[in-house]
Symmetry: C2
Subunit: 385 residues, 2 copies
DNA sequence: CTGAAAGCGCTTACAG
DNA sequence: CTGAAAGCGCTTACAG
């Protein structure tokens, strides 16, 4: 396993290191025969250039792309990453994985990226931190692409999905099914994606000639507890809605639970629509009708944007918005002909909600609000022993 | 953003590059005052050493750990990765992410790893490819740790979960609930994890004085279709079981579907237990009782093993088997007092199963058996201690 | 305890 | 078209 270097190849091919370097980099001015010889020797000896040396020699351009993700447990992030990897794999770049779970980690990550000149570009998934450090890096010439940004928007190149159109299609679907009283259980109102989802909701209603009823709009924080509470409240209140649109799938699950807890049935009494289409949404009962975000495609798109920024002179920042798609399943049905009374009023709401909230999905979603993400569980890195 | 180098720091601190390097590496023989001065200058200028140069200078040891994963979409892999990242983050290493989706990608990955001297160590998740390339790398001195290996087993250091104990606890739970006729819907019989799960099943029954009924053991391939088919067959057959243990959760979902399709109820008529505890298992209806594999902890454990192999002289390969835990939910209940007749026999099995199989979760989990496995036999070593 | 020097494996002008 | 030389930013013996 003695490492074979450029010097070895040069010697064995009877040329200089310079020449080997030229063929290595596919430069034009090399005699075809020489090139062939060198390539043959490289193949014979299974030569692969040292990445570190390559990076050092090329004063600048490293062969790495940094990928900052907020913790890999969120399934949405996993999908995005898959899209990214499928594109980067086909390039000469390698992915360096940074995970940040909070502000502190995040600044550490940026420090490392900043100082080490390690990466040529940066992909940032589900960013929900202060934007300044990234803007600074970008301003200093480091290509950056944001994917599915939460929180504040910026001028940095970005890939998002179309929250507005997605929400609008969800509500349009309910309208087609005959619903007129449609509630909206919202995520954090300061998040742009939620602003857009809410606008899609109100525009769809307005377009159908339905007045907006403020009582049907319930702001929250992507927390299933909130969704649960709002749902119980909506169902027990006067003139209850016949359909509920939730701003993400985990919240929609909480809506389903709340409807169940009140003794009503989905979709016979109440229709429910979510947003994201995380994998489990096809498997809850009833299977959830929801707005699919194209996470893999978003990752791939962002990777391609970054690669092209790395190879050509990059133009102005692009903001790509990808289309969503309505996944129609069983949780939304025709508006009920008659309204059943709420069979039971959850006597002890706290009790009813208690055990469910200890569940991994619920708790971690509550502690890490984001659009559509569905953390897999609480972390305990206790290896045992 | 002019990159500040070790030379700059040396000049500004009034010392030589050598000295800066010494404090950089925490070497002892440096005057405390000098050290303080250098550190201060580094802090003032936000100095971070170039990783490439560091790697080159240290003839050998690169600051990278390779992480080979079979595609990030599998939820299990996401959990494992999170555990890995949480440990590696705290070290001086960075993670380079390689994804392989098939044999071809895999050999490409190994080539890159092999040649470039890029990584100091390798973490391999859910390995299900020929083992030779990895054995060769390991033999050549590259530290490798396998996590949750599928397929064939090797002498390489590894972290698994305890399939045998997990299966045994699942069946013991059913026995406690009064069940006597317990079926087992298996994964691929050649996979060590399935061998162990089946052994846990048979040992639990034998220990309870129950004879093994070969008709209740149904081999398959981690494919939900098989689980579905077997379940229908078991339910419609004579002397049907009162409980079914499935070798992984997606198969358990298919069991739930099949029971539902036959008009029986879980857990009133049939109890169901799975294996894995993937996130959605808490959200199917009824919530699935299943054996939880500690994926995050497994990832963390493996990362720690690799780091220690990188810093100390590594001893003989260790094989760590981590304990599972039974997640008790609603899909398993007391054995029914009386046996209802099967209300309906699925008229067209093909039709019934068709649409479900097009679902993403089913197909991807079916084509990618993602479960833990045990070293066949006796390689057991207790987790670090 | 500290500095001068050589070297890691590559790239890049610069000559020829 | 090709080679000799200098340099990338760090580390590591080796002197002192």
């Amino acid at each position: 396993m003695a490492k074979v270097t450029i010097r070895d190849i040069a010697r064995l091919a009877g040329v200089s290191k310079s020449t080997v370097s030229l063929v290595l980099n596919g430069r034009p001015r090399v005699d075809p025969e020489t090139r062939a010889k060198v390539l043959q020797v490289m193949a014979e000896h299974n030569y692969v250039p040292s990445v570190a040396a390559t990076a050092l020699g090329k004063r600048g351009g490293s062969p790495f792309i940094g990928l900052i993700v907020p913790g890999l447990t969120w399934r949405i992030v996993a999908s995005i990453n898959y899209g990214i990897a499928s594109v980067v794999e086909r390039s000469k770049y390698e992915i360096i994985l940074y995970t940040s779970t909070n502000d502190r980690d995040y600044s550490g990550v940026v420090d490392r990226v900043l100082g080490a000149n390690l990466v040529s570009g940066l992909l940032v998934v589900n960013h929900n931190q202060p934007m300044e450090p990234l803007v600074e890096l970008y301003g200093a010439g480091l290509p950056v692409v944001l994917i599915n940004t939460l929180g504040v928007h910026s001028d940095l190149p970005s890939v998002e999905s179309d929250s507005y159109a997605g929400a609008r299609s969800a509500v349009a679907h309910l309208l087609e099914l005959g619903h007129r009283r449609i509630a909206c259980v919202q995520g954090p109102p300061q998040f742009p994606c939620c602003v857009n989802r809410n606008k899609g909701y109100t525009d769809a209603l307005t377009h159908a000639g339905i007045a907006i009823d403020a009582d049907l709009i319930r702001p929250g924080g992507f927390r299933p507890q909130d969704a649960y509470r709002h749902t119980v409240d909506l169902l027990c209140g006067p003139d209850r809605p016949t359909a509920i649109f939730a701003h993400n799938d985990p919240m929609a699950y909480a809506v389903l639970d709340a409807v169940d807890e009140c003794g009503l049935r989905v979709p016979d009494d109440i229709s429910v629509v979510g947003f994201d289409d995380i994998v489990s949404s096809a498997h809850v009962r009833p299977p959830l009708t929801t707005v699919r975000q194209p996470f893999e495609e978003m990752g791939a798109q962002a990777a391609e944007m970054l690669l092209s920024a790395l190879s050509y002179e990059s133009g102005p920042p692009r903001h790509v918005r990808m289309p969503t798609e309505l996944a129609i399943r069983a949780s939304a049905g025709p508006v009920p002909r008659r309204r059943r009374r709420v069979p039971k009023q959850p006597a002890d709401l706290h009790h009813a909600i208690g055990p469910k909230l200890t569940d991994a999905m619920y708790t971690s979603d509550a502690s890490s609000p984001s659009t559509g993400l569905d953390p897999a569980g609480t972390l305990s890195t206790k290896p045992s022993g």
